[in-house]
Amino acid sequence: MSTIVLLALTGLGLGALYFLVASGLSLIWGLMRVLNFAHGAFFTVAAYAAWTAQGALHGLPSPWMRWFAALLIGITIGALFATLTEVLLIRRLYREQIGQVLVTVGLALATLALVQGGFGSDPKQVQLPAWMTATTAVAGAAIPNTRLLAILAAALVLIALLLFLQHTRYGLIVRAGVENRAMVSALGIDVQRAFTLVFAIGGAAAGLAGVLGGAYYGTVDPVRGTEMLIFAFIVVVIGGLGSVTGSAAAAVIVGLLQQFLNYYAAPGVGDFAVVLLLAGVLLTRPGGLAGGVL
């Protein structure tokens, strides 16, 4: 029983990280029809920015304060990097799908090379407040607190995104734009501003995932953003491109499937099963699990 609880919460924790990356990816695709291969780079840069900040902020009195300051810096850097990516690169290429792929893949590769050049290829240990290296007993299982933290953060982000989409003017513009961008501009709305905003939100969420990922794994690693991106893309497709709740549901399914099968079948089987699930969804429900953006 305790093994099942441990696997379930670990899977949910992993799913939480996938969701944080996938939600932005999904909204960016839904609104702009851009496949953003640079989204993993937002994760990576934020993770390293937070790691660097923690080292630089040793003047702050408590480990919690240091970690929290680093978290805010990571989120901000993620949002900023994403915003610049949209404004400087993607904006010129909205009509050129091939150009978008080349530019975002190029940015991802360049970021990886720069991070490896600057920080080395090996993972770096992350300093964490004591609570984050401890566990909490849940139904008899000792759950690492970082899993619980990731789950809580993802749940809060999901709620915030839904509130944004349902109750703000920009949320309305995003929901409408996912259906029909041209008609949104034909109502006199500068849909470009919504594009930039969605990139910023996606970058912030990916940045949050980058910092939480550092806590989850205890290290930052130059290639983790790429791994996250691959699973996040799978989550986005299974959940329905453009759907936030679809991404959340798919992230949970993928995280749980991976953990349980990697444990009970054999390591690697879980990852393989995720790809099979992707194929199954594509064959039976090409639009993914969800319909609209919510």
Partner: protein
């Protein structure tokens, strides 16, 4: 309505889609007030003309509204100059409620005419919390019209086949709404239902294979069966004598 001044001026509008030259030097002007008809057979280029005016397709040429150059503006900027658009396939946002569709259409700074649109289309008020995707075709058309009528600062409405596929009762309602709207803004109307077109429009512009083929008054066009048949198809024959 003759002698009114020109509100919309389109000069040498050219549109290419892929290799095809869809619009060829389309030059037209729309007088302020009333309803001008933009007619022509299927595929003549009516929809592309409206989309070209808005900038929804790439085009060359010059477009002015009340003397103001629109040609180099982005779509949303053209619209903010006071151009309302009711697209051919309605294009309501199906995942948004009726109220949300209307709220999205609200333009900052524009006087909003909720009383007018709910007065013309009471069904929209009753169904304001309903998703637009669950409305009937006629109700979706009402919503699409309502989005354009909502903004009090619209100078001209570009309305593309608003009665297509609707029941006779809804056609009547839509026609009445257009007449009411024409008291508040100029309308450029694409309409394939010729009896409706004849009843609503004054000036007509006829497109044929991407070029302007005729401009004049609707009575003159409909009164000449040979002319009407040539530009509007067989259905037009005899229309001139059965004005409703």
């Amino acid at each position: 309505m003759s002698g009114g001044r020109t509100l919309l001026n389109v000069r040498d509008l050219n549109v290419y889609i892929g290799e095809s030259h869809i619009l060829q030097n389309v030059t037209l002007s729309v007088r302020e007030g009333g309803i001008t008809g933009l007619l022509g057979r299927n595929g003549a280029g009516k929809t592309t003309t409206l989309r070209g005016i808005l900038g929804l397709v790439e085009r060359t040429g010059s477009i002015t509204l009340d003397g103001r150059e629109l040609t180099n503006l982005a779509v949303h900027e053209v619209v903010r100059c006071g151009v309302g658009y009711v697209p051919e396939d309605r294009d309501v946002f199906s995942g948004l409620t009726v109220a949300e569709n209307l709220r999205l259409a609200e333009r900052p700074g524009s006087p909003l005419r909720y009383d007018l649109v709910y007065g013309l289309f009471p069904e929209l008020a009753q169904r304001s919390a309903q998703k637009a995707g669950t409305l009937s075709g006629g109700q979706q058309q009402m919503l699409s019209l309502a989005r354009a009528l909502l903004n009090g600062d619209n100078r001209i409405l570009l309305v593309d086949e608003p009665t297509k596929g609707l029941s006779p009762l809804v056609v009547k309602q839509v026609a009445a709404a257009l007449l009411r709207a024409a008291e508040l803004a100029t309308i450029l109307l694409v309409e394939q239902n010729l009896s409706v077109a004849h009843r609503l429009v004054g000036d007509v512009i006829v497109l044929d294979q991407g070029r302007i083929a005729y401009t004049g008054h609707v009575d003159t066009l409909m009164g000449d069966p040979a002319l009407a048949r040539r530009y509007l198809g067989l259905a037009a024959a005899g229309e001139g004598h059965t004005r409703t």
